[in-house]
């Protein structure tokens, strides 16, 4: 199967058009033949009437003049002849032109017995003749006299005419076919031009000459180009983001690497060198973890579908209850029913997971989660009864890698990731003091509709 639309359509035309043309040609040829025969028949009928008009009935006998009005009946080579038979098939009269007609043919014609009153027209191809037979009944004094009039006309002229017609017809049809193909080709070229232009523009983007599809396209192609533009745009943003993340990652790894490299040149004791490597690898782990969390965080939110906050809180709390089983932490949840988060479920899990883990980690026995709607904002509070965070440290704790307490394990990036996620949703994270006495994280999010 040919690959291009144009080729496919052209191939279809090349195959289909001849079929159409042959049908049309056959129909035309047929129509022409029919009209030829019709005119032959009506001419023959006219000759019959002319013959009858000059006939006389004398003493129970049909009498015809020797020479008729029509001169061709008198010329031997004219190709037009007339014969008259009586009811017994005996030849009663023949035109002068009929002298060359085969006796055998005359015998055959004499045997024709048409229905009374109905003429018969036939084309005797083998004899190259048109034959018109007319049964005649003459009613005189109650007596019926039956005769058969036969008009014979050569078909040579008609056949020549037909051949000429055929040659011309098929010649013209061939011309029409070629012209139609040419036209179709041109129409296709013109009709598919926008697609070619589109392909050209896309390869322009590939070559880096342009950044998006600028051309105006027909209505059918417009949705494709619109979506293509969107795709190109998303893809470009994604690439930029990857580049930035990669650059961030590479740059931030450089420092600990430099420290390690530098330390190799300094004279460290084995122990202090080990400690240094340990510190720096911790730092690198932290960096990698942070960038990974950022990668998890989806930046393109497709149509935001509502994610149940209640369900997420319950799942995370029951998971954390296992991890911190020895603390026997009691979780109180209020106002979470029907609250939802318009965004990616993983973002919500990441946000709540980090904050709830902090609450479980630092809380002594109780953790409280509550939510409320304030005008256009959803306020989500996560508090615990732990030591809390001093007001001076409220800002510090939200910075990446900052940890006030080094004894509880963790990467120190959780809150930075939370702040990152929230800012991408136009939300905010604040730190305060919980009614339970410990720290309280306040999440503000634009309310889901």
């Amino acid at each position: 199967m040919p690959g291009s639309l144009q080729a496919r359509m052209l191939w279809a035309s090349i195959v289909m058009l001849p079929i159409l043309t042959i049908f049309a040609g056959a129909a035309l040829q047929r129509a022409f033949e029919t009209s030829l025969l019709t005119s032959e028949e009506s001419q023959a009928r006219l000759h019959t009437y002319a013959l009858l008009s000059s006939a006389e009935f004398i003493e129970s006998e049909l009498v015809l003049p020797r020479t008729l009005q029509e001169p061709r009946f008198s010329q031997v080579q004219s190709g037009l002849s007339a014969l008259v038979f009586d009811s017994s098939g005996e030849l009663k009269w023949r035109s002068e032109s009929s002298s060359l007609i085969d006796e055998e043919l005359i015998t055959r014609i004499a045997q024709i017995e048409p229905e009374p009153g109905s003429s018969r027209f036939s084309h005797l191809k083998a004899d190259q003749l048109f034959l018109y037979v007319y049964p005649l009944i003459w009613d005189i004094d109650g007596l019926e006299y039956k005769y058969l009039i036969a008009i014979l006309h050569t078909d040579v002229e008609s056949m020549e005419e037909l051949t000429t017609f055929q040659t011309q017809l098929w010649g013209w049809l061939l011309a029409v076919y070629l012209l139609a193909l040419l036209l179709q080709y041109l129409i296709l070229r013109w009709g598919l031009k926008p697609l070619n232009a589109l392909a050209e523009e896309i390869s322009g983007i590939e070559r880096g000459e342009t950044t998006d599809l600028k051309g105006r396209y027909p209505d059918e192609v417009e949705p494709v180009t619109r979506n293509l533009n969107r795709l190109i745009d998303t893809e470009r943003h994604q690439r930029e983001r990857y580049r930035n993340t990669l650059a961030d990652l590479a740059h931030s790894l450089k420092t600990p690497l430099a420290v390690i490299k530098g330390a190799a040149g300094e004279s460290h004791s084995l122990e202090s060198y080990q400690r240094l490597i340990d510190e720096q690898s911790d730092r690198m782990t932290q960096i990698v973890q942070y960038q990974l969390s950022r990668a998890v965080k989806s930046k393109d939110r497709p149509l935001a579908n509502a994610v149940s906050i209640h369900l997420a809180v319950e799942r995370i709390c029951s998971a954390l209850s296992k991890v911190y089983a020895s603390k026997g932490i009691e979780v109180t949840v209020s106002g979470l029913e029907e609250k939802s988060f318009a965004g990616d479920e993983r973002d919500l899990m990441e946000l709540l997971g980090n904050l709830l883990e902090n609450a479980f980690k630092y809380g002594r026995t109780r953790v409280a989660v509550s939510a409320s709607l304030e005008e256009h904002e959803l306020l989500l509070l996560i508090g615990d009864d732990g030591p809390g965070i001093g007001s001076g440290e409220h800002q510090t704790i939200l910075q990446r890698g900052a940890r006030l307490d080094m004894s509880t394990p963790g990467q120190g990036i959780g809150l930075a990731v939370c702040a990152d996620i929230l800012s991408s949703y136009n939300g905010a994270l604040e730190v305060g003091t919980s009614a339970l006495g410990g720290a309280e994280f306040q999440i503000r999010l634009p309310a889901a509709l």
Binding site: R315, V323, E345, P409, Q411
Partner: protein
């Protein structure tokens, strides 16, 4: 204490095995999910460490299979991605704690310790039974505040008995949980350990912390004083 390690990365697996062995745990290792399901359901372990990202059958499936087969040993999952979706799914599948890669071996050891204690019903790493104090973090024992030097096998024997205090533990169970499968299981060895433990913990024979239940096994008989 017998631990099953399911980790497909050979380097990390070797590191885990070496360090847990050096901390006197009996360690079995395997690298894929199917074998893990088999080992975990057919043999008794005190704890399992499972990497979530196993080839073929995932770590989550392994844990679900164990739980379905009524195996309730504590399970610690290792995850490389460390996003919450992963962690929550892991814990929902039946795991008890998680650790995000990379981690310090000390961190792993602390988690393992805590899980084992928790499974035995102890919240704190220090357990006091009268004058005997067992510190599962430092893996040390002291009597009347004075540390008693124990060999690794002696400590393991004592720890197992203490964590199952009040229960009679058969010799077979002790051997099973304390030694490698290929270890020579001559029950005399166990008797030697018990005798030495008794001597070290209770030289005057006033406490009688470890009772011999004739025909059945041993029992740690002291009451916890917390």
């Amino acid at each position: 204490m017998k631990i099953l390690i399911v980790e497909d990365d050979p380097d990390l697996r070797r590191q885990l095995v070496t360090s847990l062995n050096s901390r006197s745990y009996t360690v079995e290792e395997c690298e894929d999910g199917d074998e893990a399901v088999y080992l975990g359901t057919e043999y008794e372990f005190d704890l399992a460490i499972v990497d979530i990202g196993l080839p073929g059958r995932s770590g989550l499936e392994v844990i679900r299979a164990w739980r379905k087969a009524q195996r309730d040993m504590p399970v610690l999952i290792l995850t490389a991605r460390g996003d919450w979706q992963d962690k929550v799914e892991g814990l929902e599948s039946g795991a008890d704690d998680y650790l995000v890669k990379p981690f310090h071996i000390e961190e792993l050891s602390a988690r393992v310790n805590a899980l084992l204690r928790r499974a035995a019903g102890h919240a704190k790493p220090q357990m006091t039974y009268g004058s005997i104090t067992l510190d599962t973090t430092a893996r040390s024992v002291s009597v009347n505040g004075e540390e008693v030097k124990l060999t690794s096998y002696e400590y393991r024997t004592l720890e197992y008995l203490v964590l199952h205090a009040g229960q009679t533990i058969s010799k077979a169970e002790l051997t099973e949980h304390l030694y490698h499968q290929d270890y020579d299981r001559d029950s005399n060895v166990l008797e030697v350990f018990i005798r030495r433990l008794r001597q070290k913990l209770d030289p005057e024979q006033t406490l009688n912390p470890i009772l011999t239940v004739r025909g059945l096994g041993y029992r740690f008989a002291l009451e916890a004083t917390d």
